[in-house]
């Protein structure tokens, strides 16, 4: 039987964790009015922080992802300052949506087109994994997203 060993400490620095967390919050947003939980409720960032601290024996692409985040996050920060004159974590939700739309299309200034698209794909996928993977990985806290969606059980309400 396969057993997951969750590392004791994460990979991100506090700043990196806050930056990725801010992007996750907009990729899978919560909507209190419509009762939809989001990446923050699920603690999706904890999932990625854990995952990146694991080795290539867990999955072969993990070392590449580590490099991708570490190298591009400072560049995103620079870009945020250039475009919005504020730090990534201080962007409003609306600005962050715009920022991510540009990244998805490879249009963020002074950042390699392929690299930013690659980063967007990784962020998007990791955010969904952090929300909807089994809680043993550190996200989807208390199965919150499964319980809301009705996966493996009838859907529940959240406020």
């Amino acid at each position: 039987m396969w057993k997951l060993v969750v590392p004791e400490s994460g990979f991100f620095t506090p700043l990196e964790r806050a930056q990725v967390g801010a992007m996750f919050k907009v990729l899978v947003p919560a909507d209190r009015h419509r009762g939809i939980p989001g990446a923050n409720d699920a603690l999706a960032i904890q999932f990625l922080d854990n995952l990146l601290a694991m080795g290539s024996d867990v999955y072969v692409e993990i070392p590449e992802w580590r490099e991708l985040y570490r190298e591009t996050l400072p560049k995103l920060e620079e870009t945020a300052f250039k475009v919005y004159a504020r730090a990534l974590v201080e962007l409003s939700d609306r600005q962050m949506v715009e920022f991510l739309q540009y990244m998805q299309a490879g249009l963020l200034p002074s950042l390699d087109v392929v690299l930013q698209k690659q980063l967007f794909t990784a962020l998007h996928r990791h955010c969904l994994q952090g929300c909807f993977a089994d809680p043993r990985w550190g996200g989807n806290r208390d199965r919150i997203m499964w319980r809301w969606l009705g996966y493996l059980q009838p859907p529940e309400e959240f406020s």
């Binding site: 939809i36 867990v58 969606l149």
Partner: protein, 552 residues
């Protein structure tokens, strides 16, 4: 069985074809050795059910980074390494990971030219050497011995025989088990298609609807295709035919043995050369007067090429076919999310789906040039795959993702997956790529593939038909993905070692034996002269019974 120095047959691969051959030949009193490249994986290794580990992190697949194949795009220049997600390198092969969707091929497949009267000029479409009735008893044997659940006689005349109507006694055929509990969308979809004169039917599956042969009924866990079945309710080679072969005492199963070459003297097979993947020091040799290969069509062609099997017609590796695919997803805001219901009459939400639709198998429509079509498997968008894949597939984020999540939570949906006829072309082929080696130092497969315009038109036509019916029933289209000209690889791979009656136009005879090396047989889907238009598993298994029945 004790280690055999010279068995009656060596079987390469332990999946659908290999496991069946082991069972059929040991039943005849033969001693066989089964050489399987992968390890033995007991059901315990398939838990905990975890989408991230098994699906996203690909725990059971050959790694693209170290053990890929190479795909060459239709322009003949662009190439890429491709993950072979359809290969289950373990005892039981890909039957450990399949969906066990087990329909029979029918005369529309065996005798395709009766329907496809004017095949496009740049294709090579041929009739098979048999008709459906020649295979019928082997289909029944396959359904019995692998444990297929289903319901015969679901269609109006003249189609009953397709699901097993017994034309000799006039009685409906009975599958070993009734079909699995229907999905909650079944009445809604059946009504909607009936209005268009179409007849979806409950699918035959190698999945137990109740305890059968000591294996339990399906608990609808929601982890099916791509996952190992820890419950063993889904038929695999290991829990059916291979288990019986081993019980006979005449089957010597050897995991972790990678066959690298078929040995032959002039025109007679002598045995195989193989490597122990756990101790790859020296190649070993095992001799036998019969070698039966069953490692999926691309790999079987690769083994023929690696072995230098005489190929006077230059046909080895050619006429590779994948199936023409296509998918569409709709949501019905006039329904509530499908559920098992208070009396558990239907499948729970995370389960298989039920229906197949074959009304477009033969197309009789003056508005199109298409004549041979295909079949749909009908799923719930929630079906089979757990949630990450479901939502990742939408490519949505932000508010658009929220809207989609709400829909999936509140309303019933449907997802169609098309399996269609495919034009055979000699340019679609397997070669060896000597610039890229697998972990044991052998050239990987280099695959050239482009879909014919017929395939593209067929996919679009079939999708449009079902989308039309579904929108009339209140459906809103959410995703459509017709076949494109490129195909980087697919689990249904066939045709690389075509069989036929004429040694001048085929690699294998009708007994699936090499024309040039006697005693060398192939029982994966490489023998299939054309693709047919259904999931090929049952027909592959039935053929293995047929070949072993006639082997001497």
């Amino acid at each position: 069985m004790s280690r055999t120095s010279k068995p009656d047959a060596i079987i390469v691969g332990s999946g659908a074809g290999g496991g069946t051959a082991a069972s059929a030949l040991t039943k005849r009193g033969w001693n066989v050795v089964v050489l399987e490249k992968g390890p033995n994986r007991p059901a315990d290794e398939f838990v905990p059910y975890d989408e991230l580990h098994f699906q996203d992190h690909k725990a059971l697949r050959p790694a693209k980074q170290s053990d890929p194949m190479v795909y060459v795009h239709p322009d003949g220049k662009k190439e890429e390494t491709v993950e072979r997600w359809w290969i289950g390198n373990m005892v039981g092969g890909s039957t450990m990971l399949w969906e066990a969707n087990l329909p029979r091929y029918t005369d529309e497949d065996f005798q395709v030219l009766e329907i496809l009267k004017e095949p496009p000029p740049d294709t090579s479409m041929v009739n098979w050497p048999w008709r459906y009735l020649d295979f019928k008893r082997y289909f029944e044997q396959a359904e019995r011995e692998w444990g297929v659940s289903g319901l015969a006689n679901q269609w109006p005349p003249p189609y009953q025989e397709l699901t097993g109507f017994d034309e000799l006694t006039g009685r409906p055929y009975e599958y070993p088990m009734p079909p699995i509990r229907p999905h909650a969308s079944t009445p809604f979809l059946t009504d909607a298609f009936a209005k268009a004169g179409m007849h979806p039917y409950l699918s035959p599956r190698g999945i137990n609807s109740r305890t059968y042969n000591g294996r339990p009924g399906c608990p609808f866990c929601g982890y099916c295709q791509g996952y190992g079945c820890a419950v063993n309710d889904r038929a695999s080679s290991t829990n059916t035919v291979l288990a019986r072969a081993l019980e006979s005492g005449r089957c010597d199963l050897r995991p972790n043995q990678y066959v690298t070459r078929i040995l032959f003297d002039k025109n007679r097979v002598r045995g195989v050369e193989y490597i122990d993947t756990q101790d790859s020091a020296q190649p070993k040799i095992l001799e036998s007067s019969r070698v039966i290969v069953s490692i999926q069509a691309i790999e079987s062609a690769r083994l023929f090429l690696l072995s230098g099997i005489p190929d006077p017609n230059k046909m080895v590796g050619k006429y590779l076919t994948y199936h023409t695919k296509g998918s569409a997803e709709l949501i019905f805001k006039n329904t509530q999310v499908w559920d098992e219901g208070p009396d558990r009459k239907y499948q729970p939400r995370t389960s298989l789906g039920s229906l197949q639709l074959r009304d477009l198998y033969a197309i009789n429509d003056a508005s199109t040039y298409l004549t041979k079509g295909g079949k749909f498997s009908i799923y719930d968008p929630f079906t089979i795959y757990p949630v990450i894949r479901l939502l990742w597939g939408t490519k949505l984020w932000g508010k658009a993702l929220q809207d989609r999540m709400l829909e999936l939570r509140e309303y019933g949906g449907v997802s169609f997956s098309f399996t269609g006829e495919t034009m055979s072309m000699d340019t679609n082929r397997v070669e060896l790529d000597s610039s890229r080696l697998d972990p044991w130092g052998l050239p990987v497969a280099r695959v050239y593939y482009r879909h014919h315009q017929y395939d593209l038109d067929l996919s679009r036509y079939a999708l449009d038909k079902v989308i039309d019916v579904m929108t009339n029933a209140g459906g809103e289209l959410r995703a459509i993905s017709p076949q494109t000209i490129e195909n980087t690889g697919y689990g249904h791979n066939h045709g690389t070692l075509r069989c036929g009656n004429d040694p001048g136009t085929s690699v294998l005879g009708p007994d699936c034996q090499s024309w040039t090396v006697k005693g060398l047989y192939v029982v994966d889907a490489a023998w299939m002269p054309t693709a047919g238009a259904s999931n090929p598993g049952l027909t592959t298994i039935a053929n293995a019974y047929r070949v072993c029945d006639q082997m001497n």
